[in-house]
């Protein structure tokens, strides 16, 4: 493998006795859109700040094209960053904000002018050049911040929850803008968010953080379809978890006994389990249906509630063991004939279910 563009090597950050980041190692190829996803306090922002130079890691190294960044102060790292809060300079106009990084680099006026025009065109704010930040909406301010961060063609763009202060519709709009800008500029982007939908929508790869460690890193599909742990399965998308007992695994197809005594077979084990070991069975709501498929197994349930959501139905079922299960069949699937009748069954393909250690 060729040398990675950006390399985060065993970065560790402690605050007193608290370890915020445990030896995180990631290699980022040039042009990748990599997202650090995780709940708050999982160490994703701390890792980003180590790259930005706001917090020196306690140990480990950050290399850009094989040169360590750690001894380089923030203002010489040549990294672009968009922050969670609006950090435009309030006393400067939109154009002056975008020009700022070029002015401090003492670039010639003609170049500054041209670049500012290019950047404002990139974020589609050409007509706002003379406005002041106070006269812009939150979404517009973040687009200006993006233009400012890209004005000096930084090799890496860091984005620290840039959309978290915006409402949902605006967020989706700007996500599309960010995708387009990533496509058009080819800049390497490290993006921090706690919103899994945002991560799935934007990223080439996602690093899912948990308690200062990377739980899993891979494409959105990897994390959604092949979660490495119960945490990943629970964080990315919706999941149902049922307690079960592992009976045996043959040819990577596992057999378990559920709390109600029913036996399910042909399940995917994420690792070897012992006989009798307590496990958790995970199945996605959209993998469950009310009608049997060619290879499906069945669960006996009571139907608690049904609702119609346009593209999908939502059915809440309860197992004899008392566990609630969320079922999301497509809306063309038939509704249960009589939801209140007992002895209902829901079905799923065992190949779409996973077993995790309890």
């Amino acid at each position: 493998m060729t040398q990675p563009f950006l390399s985060i090597r065993a970065v560790r950050k402690t605050f007193g006795a608290f370890v915020a980041v445990h030896d995180v190692t990631i290699d980022v190829p040039k042009g990748e859109f990599l997202t650090f996803l995780g709940p708050s306090g999982s160490g994703k922002s701390t890792t980003l700040y180590a790259i930005a130079g706001f917090q020196d890691p306690s140990s480990g190294d950050v290399l850009l094209e094989e040169k360590s960044l750690l001894s380089v102060p923030s203002h010489k790292r040549n990294i672009g960053m968009v922050f969670q809060r609006y950090t435009l300079f309030p006393h400067l106009s939109v154009a002056e904000n975008v020009a700022f990084p070029l002015r401090v680099r003492r670039r010639p006026d003609a170049e500054v002018k041209r670049k500012v025009a290019d950047m404002l065109a990139l974020v589609r704010l050409e007509n706002f050049a003379d406005r002041y930040p106070g006269a812009l909406s939150g979404g517009q301010q973040q687009r200006v911040a993006l233009a400012r961060a890209l004005a000096y063609d930084p090799p890496i763009l860091l984005m620290d929850e840039p959309l978290s202060a915006l409402d949902k519709k605006l967020r989706q709009e700007i996500q599309a803008e960010i995708r387009r800008i990533h496509r058009e500029t080819g800049v390497t982007i490290l993006y921090v968010t706690h919103d899994q939908e945002e991560a799935l929508h934007l990223s080439d790869r996602i690093a899912l953080f948990k308690e200062g460690r990377i739980e899993q890193i891979g494409t959105g599909e990897d994390l959604y379809l092949r979660p490495a742990s119960e945490f990943v399965a629970g964080f990315i998308g919706n999941s149902n978890f049922l307690p079960a007992e592992h009976l045996e695994t043959a040819a990577s197809a596992a057999t378990v006994r559920l709390a109600d005594g029913s036996i399910l077979t042909g399940l995917k084990a994420t690792r070897p389990f012992d006989k009798g070991q307590k496990v958790r069975l995970m199945v996605r709501p959209e993998a469950l249906s009310l009608t049997p498929g060619p290879a499906s197994v069945a669960l006996a349930v009571d139907i608690v509630d049904t609702a119609f959501f346009g593209d999908r139905r939502r059915v809440v079922a309860r197992t004899a063991g008392g566990d609630e299960i969320d079922v999301r069949p497509t809306s063309d699937a038939a509704e249960p004939a009589d939801p209140s009748a007992s002895g209902q069954r829901i079905f799923f393909d065992p190949a779409s279910a996973f077993l995790f250690p309890a």
Partner: protein, 284 residues
């Protein structure tokens, strides 16, 4: 301040009858004496502008005016230079420690002015603590002239004016999001560039407010210049006191006081215009 300007010039809003006692108070204790002062300056000893003519015609008085502005300007400049780092430290310090430092600054304001000025006399005189310490350390061989001159006045007055500069400045600096400075750093601005292009422009409203207050207070200052200054750099307030008390020339004293008042009001009007009609975001 903008709101104050609007209210006082655009007339009183309906139902502001509750303001009558306050207006009476201001009228009785501020406007009436000022009008009396103005009248006195043009009637004492006889009607006419001879007091103003004497004031502006005499080299001595003009020198006192110029010296007053010089001292006020130097004091304001030095106060800004000393206050800025202190205010910045207070703004970024953990609140617990910050409030202790704040308390020390406020406490100094509560100590009697005369006491503090006499303390400086003890420290600054030829055989004072500072000169003796420096000579004892062998840094100087002759005592430095620290008192009865511009240096003495500046030191004494800067010390007294500092809180009036620090307080508005801390407010302005605290309102600046530290993330803005991080953003500036990542944009490539080193510490000096970040200061000059971001921090300084953003703190200008605080510097202007504090600076004007210090300048105006310095213009009319009496005790400290009288005790720490020399005869060659007399300030206006001291001159007025002498004119009235020793020379019993009430007309001339009133004229000088009125000129001082007009200058002060003019400066205030300029500041209102600068701050009130600032650029968007300039008030942050």
């Amino acid at each position: 301040m903008t709101a104050f300007k609007r209210q006082s010039f655009a007339g009183l809003p309906a139902g502001s009858g509750g303001a009558v006692p306050a207006l009476l108070l201001v009228g009785l204790f501020f406007i009436v004496p000022v009008v009396a002062l103005l009248l006195r300056s043009v009637t004492d000893p006889e009607p006419g502008l001879q007091n103003y003519a004497a004031l502006f015609g005499s080299g001595t008085y003009v020198r006192v005016f110029l010296n007053t502005f010089l001292v006020a300007a130097v004091v304001t400049a030095v106060t800004i230079l000393v206050a800025f780092p202190v205010a910045w430290m207070l703004a970024i310090m953990p609140p617990a420690i910050g409030s202790i430092v704040f308390g020390i600054i406020i406490l100094s304001m509560w100590t009697n002015l005369l006491t503090r000025t006499y303390a400086w006399m003890v420290l600054l005189q030829r055989t004072g603590v500072i000169n003796r310490a420096l000579m004892g350390l062998g840094i100087i061989h002759e005592p430095l002239p620290l008192i009865n001159n511009l240096a003495g006045v500046t030191i004494g007055m800067v010390y007294i004016m500092l809180p009036f500069m620090i307080l508005p400045l801390v407010g302005t600096l605290r309102a600046i999001d530290p993330m803005t400075l991080r953003a500036a750093a990542l944009c490539g601005a080193g510490p000096f560039q970040a200061f000059r292009r971001i921090l300084l422009p953003l703190s200008l409203p605080g510097i202007a407010a504090g600076g004007l207050m210090v300048f105006v207070m310095s213009l009319g200052y009496f005790v400290t210049p009288a005790l720490l200054g020399g005869t060659s750099n007399m300030m206006l307030a001291e001159m007025i006191a002498q004119t009235v008390q020793s020379l019993l020339n009430w007309g001339l004293g009133s004229a000088a006081a009125f000129v001082l008042l007009v200058v002060t009001m003019a400066l205030y009007a300029i500041q209102l215009r600068l701050v009130g009609a600032g650029r968007p975001g300039g008030g942050l």
